[in-house]
């Protein structure tokens, strides 16, 4: 399968006060088309840092990051933004829905920055795929936590990404809604979209084809 994102011996250091934190230490990881990967590990093991570097939201201190074979250079913020718009969808534990926008407007929000025209039929299709067609005119405060996360998933799909990076997507959900959201990711994966989930939840990790264990910034399994 074609490689989408490749991390080669990636390290990340940053300062927190007087302390230097080694968030990642020589991590090598490849995300290919159709992958379903879980990244697990205790708090502070570097899971979110790994996701952010893979998602071109942060630069590695050392090592190489390639997106579809193209090496990501430091300082090219515009290029990173283009990569995020065209290739990657993000889902976070906090849903980050804009409270004054309707469900369909929230889903269309990323198009504003990729300068693509909103297509209501396409939005309707995405909402249909997450089971929220009937909620398209609702505001976020009229939705349950599970519904909000499904809106966030629909929003991550609006730019037709090849990979979705999800940071603790079920962290704020009860088990029923967690199952619904994971089911949604599995369904998207079956359509060929690579899914990378950061999770503490072993049941969720068990449903993924590949599990990466991190500890102290290193891949341990």
């Amino acid at each position: 399968m074609n490689s989408l994102i490749a991390l080669e011996k990636v390290s990340k250091f940053y300062r927190r006060g007087s302390e230097e934190v080694h968030a990642l230490d020589g991590v090598t990881l490849e995300i290919a088309e159709g992958d379903l990967i879980a990244i697990c590990g205790p708090s502070g093991s570097g899971k979110t840092t790994l996701l952010n570097i893979a998602g071109c939201m942060d630069h590695a201190s050392n090592g190489v990051v390639r997106i579809r074979g193209e090496q990501v250079e430091r300082g090219s913020e515009r290029r990173l933004a283009e990569i995020r718009q065209s290739l990657i969808g993000f889902v976070f534990q906090q849903f980050f829905l804009i409270p004054t926008l309707t469900v369909e407007e929230n889903v269309e929000l990323p198009l504003l920055f990729s300068h693509r025209k909103a297509d209501r039929a396409r939005t309707a299709e995405l909402l249909e795929s997450v089971g929220l067609s009937h909620r398209r005119r609702h505001l976020p405060n009229q939705l349950s936590g599970g519904e909000m996360q499904r809106v966030a998933v629909a929003r991550s799909l609006v730019n037709d990404p090849k990979v979705i990076l999800a940071d603790e997507p079920t962290g704020n959900l009860d088990s029923r809604n967690s199952n619904a959201v994971v089911g949604l990711f599995e369904s998207l994966n079956r359509k060929g979209i690579a899914i990378v989930l950061v999770t503490h939840n072993p049941d969720l990790a068990a449903r993924c084809r590949k599990v990466v264990h991190l500890e102290d910034g290193k891949v341990v399994g």
């Binding site: 979110t48 840092t49 952010n52 998602g55 939201m57 942060d58 913020e77 515009r78 933004a81 283009e82 995020r84 718009q85 993000f90 976070f92 906090q94 980050f96 804009i98 409270p99 004054t100 926008l101 407007e105 269309e108 929000l109 990323p110 198009l111 504003l112 920055f113 990729s114 909103a118 929003r155 991550s156 730019n159 940071d167």
Partner: protein
């Protein structure tokens, strides 16, 4: 989805804060609009009254002091300076002069201090010098005790031709021989009397407040001024009506400065309000802005969004301020007329105009752009990873 719609939606999230910030812009824009209207309106009204409407081109006054002359002519005060009546003949003999009006101005305040009457002693030359000085009812002075009333003073006194008026301060009774047509100038509030009567009442026989001169050809004003100066003693001065109006506006300078300081304070408060509000907005929405960057928002997108939000608030506040200015300006004009300036021309001294409104709006919006810069830069500088990791 348009960026403008997103900006509007973001503003709606904290409506009270947005309204309060817009209100500070409204106050600043309204203050600017009112002050500019007053400043422009007053200057124009003074020029209109002293230069355009009087028909007087030159004044002969004592010493070279236009402000003193303005005080004499405009405020009706009895200046310690005076002009000898013998100069009238010298002026009349000067080539290029169409008419010469010697006059004596004085004012009397009632003993309770509530009212000041302005008296002006004139000769028949006033008809030639002042084309808008027209007797509408009655006629010229019948004798030394006759007076001709300005339209407004006649209205206040409910006086008719033939009525008798008693001046407590002068301890004299006058008979109304005529009433002037309303001219919307200072004349409307003046009581005119024969020149020698006025001179006798203020014990200045043979002396004048000043001499008003009308030229046959205004384009020759420089030549005539030089000729006239050559004919009179150097103790006297020949002043153009334009210099006179500038002298009156000199009185207004301090009031003007206070008004513009008020504008500065209003805008200063507004600037702090806007910057504070927008910085709070950015601080509160750091995670959301970080998320927008995750989904592809670039630095310039975030800059545009925050600037747009600030601009919308400032535009709404500015529009409100300009509208408020239109309503407040006439009231401010009345206040200025009553309390702030010594010389008050007739007619409107504060007229709102489209130019002032547009300028005030542009200043409000421009202030918004400047105020948006720092918060927008702070927002655009958010590194998504740092925010999402640390917060």
């Amino acid at each position: 989805m348009k960026l403008v719609k997103l900006a509007f939606n973001n503003i709606r999230r904290t409506p009270v804060r947005a309204v309060l910030t817009a209100a500070s812009v409204l106050i600043a824009a309204a203050t600017l609009s009112v002050v500019l209207s007053l400043d422009r309106g007053y200057s124009r009204a003074v020029k209109r009254e002293l230069v355009d409407k009087t028909g007087v081109h030159l004044y002969v006054t004592k010493e070279n002091c236009p402000i003193e002359a303005a005080s004499v002519v405009a405020q009706g005060g009895l200046s310690p300076l005076y002009v000898e009546q013998s100069l009238v003949a010298a002026a009349e003999a000067t080539a290029g002069i169409a008419a010469v009006l010697p006059f004596q101005l004085f004012a009397e305040t009632t003993s309770d201090g509530t009212r000041t009457d302005i008296f002006m002693g004139v000769t028949e030359a006033i008809r030639k010098v002042r084309p808008d000085w027209v007797i509408e009812k009655g006629g010229w002075f019948e004798n030394g005790d006759s007076v001709i009333l300005g339209a407004q003073i006649a209205q206040i006194e409910l006086a008719k031709v033939g009525d008798r008026l008693y001046s407590e301060k002068l301890n004299k009774e006058f008979k109304v021989s005529g009433i002037l047509r309303k001219s919307y100038s200072q004349d409307d509030g003046i009581i005119f009397m024969p020149l020698d009567t006025a001179q006798r009442l203020v014990k200045r026989e043979g002396r004048l407040s000043a001499i008003a001169v009308k030229l046959a050809d205004v384009s020759r004003i420089q030549d005539v001024t030089t000729l006239l100066r050559g004919r009179i003693s150097q103790d006297y001065s020949v002043i153009g009506a334009k210099e006179l109006s500038e002298g009156v506006l000199g009185f207004f300078a301090a009031t003007r400065m206070i008004m513009f300081v008020m504008v500065g304070v209003a805008f200063g408060v507004s600037v702090f309000g806007i910057v504070n509000t927008m910085l709070m907005v950015v601080m509160e929405r750091r995670r959301e802005i970080a998320y927008l960057k995750c989904v592809g928002a670039r630095r310039e997108d975030v800059l545009r969004l925050i600037t747009l939000e600030t601009l919308i608030i400032c535009l709404l506040g500015g529009l409100g301020g300009v509208l408020a200015g239109v309503f407040i300006t006439p009231m401010a004009g009345s206040l200025l007329r009553g309390t702030l300036v010594g010389y008050v021309p007739a007619g409107s001294i504060a007229t709102p105009s489209a130019g002032v409104a547009l300028f005030s709006l542009l200043v409000a919006v421009g202030t918004g752009v400047i105020c948006a810069l720092y918060p927008a830069w702070k927002a655009a500088s958010i590194v998504p990873m740092e925010v999402l990791r640390n917060e």
